[in-house]
């Protein structure tokens, strides 16, 4: 078990170092999210009362699409020089690699959310009418839901010819229950009209089920040709 966590952490540290040096995924995600914010600000009246009702959807759609950029990059760097084969021939557990990739993507997307959230608040003139602290569990559980499935499906589509197209095709349908829960929970918290408790529990259940399934199946995905 010590070895498992040690390999997970060393792989995570390696990925963070590689991303820090190239900044491929972070830059792409930031620019994409910024564009979404600006385009929607020009498309809607940001001062309108309705913004509280629509911004939950806008935020998560922006983060979902931006996350896809990071998710594709995660595995792309393992394909250069076929480095993934070096991992495959080692005795290191496949699940340690998967968990490290999920944690790396979680950190990246969370960082993006932390940077973009103030912009959404400013541009849409948002004021939270419900319990604001509940946005934290929604953000954490929602981000985990996106990255755990995204990392898994990105690995699955790794060897396909048009993997950048395959990832959203595989990921988005599976993520629908999570996206609905994220959007509904965020809207309920922003408007204060309803409790977000049910959707938070739903997100938690979704995360547990899909994390377990992805961990169980990843060895097969990694060793597939």
């Amino acid at each position: 078990m010590t070895s498992f966590w040690s390999i997970t952490l060393v792989t995570l540290a390696k990925d963070i170092r590689l991303e820090w040096r190239s900044k491929d995924a972070l830059n792409a995600m930031l620019f994409f999210s910024l564009l979404v914010v600006v385009i929607f600000v020009f498309s809607f009246d940001p001062l309108a009362e309705e913004s509280r009702h629509i911004v939950g959807g806008l935020v998560w759609v922006a983060f979902l699409f931006a996350a896809v950029v990071a998710l594709n990059q995660t595995w792309a760097r393992e394909l250069r020089n076929q480095v993934l084969d070096a991992y495959r021939v080692s005795p290191a557990p496949a699940t340690a690699l998967f968990l490290a990739k999920v944690l790396g993507n979680f950190i990246m997307v969370s960082l993006l959310e932390a940077l973009m959230a103030p912009l959404f608040v400013i541009f849409y003139n948002l004021r939270v009418l419900g319990p604001a602290w509940q946005l934290i569990p929604v953000a954490l559980l929602g981000t985990w839901a996106l990255v755990v499935n995204g990392t898994f499906f990105a690995a699955m589509s790794l060897r396909t010819r048009s993997r950048e197209l395959m990832l959203p095709l595989l990921l988005f349908p599976v993520s629908i229950p999570a996206v609905i829960s994220m959007v509904a929970a965020t809207t309920n918290i922003l408007t204060g009209e309803d409790s977000a408790h049910f959707f938070i529990v739903l997100l938690l259940t979704y995360d547990v089920v899909f994390t377990t399934a992805c961990l169980a199946l990843f060895e097969t995905v990694l060793q597939a040709e």
């Binding site: 070895s3 060393v10 040096r21 250069r80 020089n81 076929q82 084969d85 005795p91 040709e225």
Partner: protein, 233 residues
Amino acid sequence: MNASASKTAAPAGIIAVRNLVKQFGRFAALRGVSAEFDAGKFHVILGDNGAGKTTLLRALAGLAHPTRGEISILGRNPRDASREIGYMAHPSLLYDEMSGMENLRYFARLYEIAGDGRCRQVIQAVGLDPELSRPVGKYSQGMRQRMSLARAILHDPKILLLDEPFSNVDAHSAREMVGLLKGMCDAGKTIFVVTHQAALLEGVADEFVWMQAGQIIDRTHRLVRDLDRAVEP
């Protein structure tokens, strides 16, 4: 993997393949390869492009799953014997953005090797400087090949599977690499080299394995085939 591929019928000390078939769609890269290779020997695999050399090597490494047939590495299937296998592919299997030392440090942890001592030792063994801080992506092709070899021998494997280790390496460096491999073989390691530069290994290799169209067609002790001899793989 094919269920039968995990059988471990061969005695320990031998690398054996039996009726190994590997198909990519309708193309058969390996067509019923059967052979036993002695442990502790230097085997060179030769053949034209498309003969199945790399596929055989990848199958031995556990990277290509046999469509049919069995592989036994020291009495185990390749996956279970992963600690005993060092694999060097035609691509470097290294991260271009990290230095050689950083790469090896990472791979050392995958084999639960602590500290930098072993990493420094293998980098020096392949004739590179452990203090070299520039990223591998900025290495010359020859340096990259050497670092790739360093990664393959990092965990002191009993079996080395090397795919084109001398490509793009200058003659002097190639001779140094051959000397290193010869020393490892003398120390009891089993070495498989796929190469088109077999002349470098004349007098060093114990056996030349000739492949053609996905099959082993001959095995010789010298770099010449006696074409009058019956072909008995």
